[in-house]
Assembly symmetry: C2
Homo-oligomer: 354 residues x 2
């Protein structure tokens, strides 16, 4: 099964959008830009819409998820929408007892710690039927976006597994990394399950109209290269196998991953997202000069006076010229307290210097 | 002023202890080992002692701080005591309104955000008088330790400043890193103040009997190399200037710092502590093969079956042979849930294979 005739990459709406060109490794007429977490708490229109609506509910109501995805595209004139969702949405859709606690993050009803816990988890799966609200939200969004591509969103299996084993957000994911060494068989079954769930979640978004995808391995930076290659990379590759054969680029991103960049590419990524710690020219060297890059304005500059921020953005664009292609982004998500007018100004600046 | 005649490095008690030899770059007869956070929550005798006693109180009561420092030395037979304290203790001693909230960490009465906040902070200082309980605790401890050296403990100015600007623990220290770029003048005054406070705290421990020191820059890994060199390194160098001229080695440690190792050495460190993410032979290469290393058993292995853990410890010792000298440690602190008998077994193993 390939893409339907009405898909924006098939009817041609997004085929030559600057973002899609850059993800293919070309240099479009302008340097494309979008912001991780552009849809969300930095926007007053988002906060209005979320009044009295829980986070997961807002992800699973197609009208809301679509409108939230579109808000930053309208406001900032960015070159892509990123599907509004959360890393744990596919877990919820597969029947896992998980919610997002305000001010805390994802909290599971019961942490997955033992082989028996994994057995119980493996009875669940993400069905096509459960994906209906996601497909609907994507279709609604793509209809409105026109020639602006939508990027599909999913969390990588390690990050999903870390949430499931810890039961809540943690600093160093020690319980998850302990399972990896203490019970590698359970770890492998757990991450394999997570790979299929998140892979299907991503595939569903693409079939419904997304023109590219991004896999977020938020916590991969807590791993050594050896552990990544042995215990994590294979499940990320399995997740991405669900979109192989579909004509969409895959961006792969994590923070604190300077030691993992080539390994994160080798699981099947086309584009590497670089966090703010590693200058793009260095990242390009680490990757052998062959991979389109995305990034990496440091969010810590967003509160600085404009001349300081402008110089930093220009430096990011300049260093990005070393890579085969470059999509400007932040080197981490938009902080909630960001003044959104600053983001709009960055978009104008990046488009003007391209 | 140099060390008093009764200091263990002057009367010779610790001068040729394996730890001190290794820190000097020599290869002693056994490979020395200690554990970051060996004093603390993993020990039942510690939990007994802390019943009804707040964290900062336990650091500031000389009898308690000394006993807690000694407990793991007696139990595990490690090659050093690490002075039981907390990164924010010198702030409290300087009159800053800070406490350690159980399950949260350091919380300030008021975050330091503006130039005026920094002005008010600069009216405070760490006096010799305020250091009395620290000196007393160190003296009590050194009397009991005999030929086992005590390592003095302090947090680096960036990590202290991050707590002060955020007002509480945070994931990416964004408020602190924003001040760095938005108001570099206030940032510089703040970290300069923190450097003198933490430097005096370290110097006081050395004069009272510590035979080595470790500076913890827990959050340095959140920085790019450029930001570290411009906005952080100078204050760490200023902190360490307080112990220059004293005949003690300085260990410098942070997590997620693979991109910062040479920069963290260049502020005046003699030994680099390596976190669990970077194999010691790679760290040694990054440092040009000239620096004694400390580390880096991954705490995630502490819950694994003994043969798996043993193989990992042997691998760490083997990779450590590439460096000029090696002190075995964890690549992060002892997790609270660690079975302490496992730590004792690691000490026996490391001493047996040396």
């Amino acid at each position: 099964m390939n893409l339907p005739d009405t898909h924006p990459l098939v009817d041609g709406r997004t085929t030559n959008a600057p973002l899609i060109q850059a993800f293919r490794g070309e240099r479009p007429g302008i340097t494309p830009i979008w912001f991780m977490r552009q849809a969300g708490r930095s926007l007053p229109e988002y906060r209005d819409l979320r009044q009295g609506v829980g986070m997961l509910e807002s992800c699973l109501r197609p009208d809301l998820a679509s409108e939230i995805t579109l808000q930053p595209v309208r406001r900032h004139g960015v070159d892509a929408g990123i599907f509004f969702s959360d890393i744990v949405v596919p877990l919820r859709l597969a029947g896992v007892d998980v919610d997002i606690a305000p001010g805390v993050g994802p909290v599971l009803g019961a942490a997955v710690r033992t082989s028996q816990d994994v057995d119980r988890l493996l009875e669940k799966e993400l069905t096509d039927e459960a994906m209906a609200p996601v497909r609907e939200a994507v279709a609604l969004t793509v209809d409105q976006l026109g020639t602006t591509p939508l990027i599909g969103f999913a969390g990588a299996p390690f990050t999903l597994a870390a949430y499931m084993v810890e039961g809540r957000p943690s600093r160093d994911h020690l319980a998850a990394r302990t399972m990896m060494h203490a019970d590698p068989e359970s770890w492998s079954r757990l991450t394999g399950w997570a790979a299929d769930v998140t892979g299907r979640f991503l595939r569903g978004q693409v079939l419904a109209g997304a023109s590219a995808t991004q896999l977020f391995d938020s916590w991969a930076g807590s791993l050594s290269l050896a552990d990544y290659e042995t215990h994590v990379g294979p499940s990320s590759a399995r997740a991405l196998s669900h979109v192989h054969g579909l004509p969409v680029s895959v961006v792969h991103f994590g923070t604190g991953t300077v030691h993992l960049l080539p390994a994160m590419r080798s699981v099947g990524a086309d584009v590497i997202g670089v966090d703010y710690r590693t200058p793009l020219d260095e990242a390009n060297t680490l990757l052998g000069g062959t991979t389109p890059l995305q990034g990496n304005i440091d969010p810590a500059y967003l509160g600085a006076p404009w001349p300081v921020l402008e110089a930093h953005v220009r430096d990011v664009v300049e260093r990005g010229r070393s890579a085969p292609a470059h999509v400007v982004n932040l080197g981490h998500g938009v902080p909630p307290e960001t003044d959104p007018t600053v983001l709009t100004r960055i978009v104008e600046l990046v488009h003007s210097i391209s």
